[in-house]
């Protein structure tokens, strides 16, 4: 079977990024997955086992101190060396802030072409085909590369990671030194985002509760948190709510924020500008509660309530709690 490279991102603390499982599962559906990692130190036994369980038979490790002090360049170098060593039929990289910059540089280095923001991958007669969902889910598109190596960025959370059922985590590790030949910016400080609550991650959550300008203030936004906690949901927000400072920008759902496709999306006090709808209208079920009955959010809602979120939501939490009794 053809080799498929995956770029495994590590956090600065050395933990495997959440995108790794999905990438390895996607790679396993196309061929033999090779996990490529740039790191400033040997991988811990836990990391090796973790990648093996996720489906990596081989870890190709680019080792060098610059892996943590230089942005993206070390990963480009590790991948370029792995492309030469494994002659893969595709390279899969997370569509993350770092991942797409790495993939872009690599594509120029190896003369490949990019398929961006894939939500699926499949083989079609030996050719790798990527599926995309564009304009906020308005179109499904399939694309492929002609004449060279496909380098594919995969939308985070779009492809589920399935545990590998063979190999049992046995992994061969190939280590190569990083020389630092790819230009990159220097990292001078790292500030981790504050640890979030025990709430699920927004991109992959089965239920999302989002708040908008209609919440009126940062203090009132706690209503969104209360409903989210009652439902075990992740918290989202419209750009208006983020711009108004009600909630951190990582929660922004929409055209310029995170795209989500949960089973249930509940929009509180969100009017539903097209840019917001672009990030959530592929949700399976949409519920909207808003005072203004003319809000465009109601055009896409399966269940819409024209009403005051401060009245309806506490009653809803109560009704759900009563059911749990």
């Amino acid at each position: 079977m053809a080799n498929i490279l995956t770029l495994i991102e590590l956090t600065h603390a050395g933990a495997v990024a959440a995108s790794a499982k999905g990438l390895l599962a996607a790679a396993a559906s196309l061929g033999t997955p090779v996990a490529v990692v740039a790191s400033d130190q040997e991988l811990s036994p836990e990391t090796t086992v973790q990648l093996g369980m996720a489906g990596a038979g081989v870890i190709y490790l680019g080792l060098g101190a610059q892996a943590v002090s230089v942005l993206t360049g070390p990963s480009v170098e590790a991948l370029e060396a792995a492309v030469a060593a494994y002659e893969p039929s595709a390279v899969l990289v997370a569509n993350s802030v770092d991942g797409r910059e790495v993939a872009a540089r690599l594509s120029v280095r190896v003369g490949g072409a990019m398929l961006n923001d894939a939500v699926s991958v499949r083989l079609d007669g030996g050719r790798v085909v990527a599926g995309h969902s564009i304009f906020g889910g308005a179109y499904d598109v399939e694309s492929a590369v002609e004449g060279g190596l496909p380098i594919i960025t995969v939308r985070q959370g779009a492809i589920d990671g399935a545990p590998a059922n063979d190999g049992g985590g046995a992994v061969e590790i190939i280590t190569v030194p990083l020389s630092g030949t790819v230009p990159g910016a220097q990292v001078t400080a790292v500030n981790d985002a504050p640890a979030t609550h025990s709430r699920p991650e927004l991109r992959t959550a089965k239920t999302v509760v989002s708040g908008g300008r209609g919440l009126g203030s940062k203090e009132n936004f706690v209503l969104v948190e209360q409903l989210a906690d009652a439902l075990g949901a992740a918290i989202g927000a419209s750009r208006a709510a983020v711009d108004a400072g009600y909630v951190d920008q990582h929660a922004q759902v929409g055209q310029t924020g995170v795209s989500v496709s949960p089973q249930l999306y509940i929009a509180l006090g969100i009017s539903g500008a097209i840019q917001h709808r672009a990030g959530m209208q592929t949700a399976k079920t949409i519920v909207a509660i808003n005072k203004d009955g003319d809000s465009p959010i109601f055009d896409v809602a399966d269940f819409g309530i024209v009403g005051d979120v401060f009245t309806v939501v506490p009653q809803l939490i109560e009704a759900l709690a009563a059911r749990a009794q």
């Binding site: 942005l71 120029v108 598109v141 910016a185 220097q186 840019q275 509660i289 309530i305 009245t311 009704a319």
Partner: protein, 255 residues
Amino acid sequence: MKIVVLIKQVPDTAEERTLVPATGWLDRDAADNVVDEINERALEVALRVKDADKSTVIVVLSLGPDEATKAIRKALSMGADSGIHVLDGGLAGSDAARTAAVLAAALRGTNADVILAGNESTDGRGGVVPAMVAEHLGLPLVGGLNAVELGGGKVSGERSGDSGSLQVTAALPAVVTVTERTAEARFPNFKGILTAKRKPVATLSLADLGVAATPAHAVVLSHSERPAREAGRKIADDGTAATQLAGYLIENRLV
């Protein structure tokens, strides 16, 4: 300091956007074409450098059809000094690799200290062209900055990542991309609109740039429009809406 700002004309995100059925390419006639907002923010970053140091020269570079001239003129009316328009029928349907190779060729002649761009366009959302340009030019990419400091022969800033933020820096020349967290763009003033007409815009063709075809390219195999969502039940709250909603969620096994 010389700053080249990459700008892209995109269909207005506030309108429905469509693909041309025959090719799967972007339908540029379906919605109003505007300068991508993220590029206007990148331009604003450059203009603030120029506000503080009048010797700064700002050039805007756009690759696109005839109509992209309007985007360039808008940038000039906001305060950029001159424009470069890469215009060639042979560029229709170019993928990111081709676009980046052509932009890099156009940039080689500019002697820029800084190449500024948005982190991703609102149409393609690939977020890869600036990094490809950086690779073609052998420059560092200082990407995804929420806040930018330019000066003293270097660029520094705060980059937001998936698990927090980083402080990053690089010596110039460099390619820099900004997020929508950076500067809110200014509106062109009357004087700017008047002077924009007299500012020079160079037009470059593929023959002028001599860019070789890239060895591989991305193609659209198929595309289909999903049926629009239909509105479902909509009720006005008469005091029972929450109970009805709870019933709906339970009935559909959503909670």
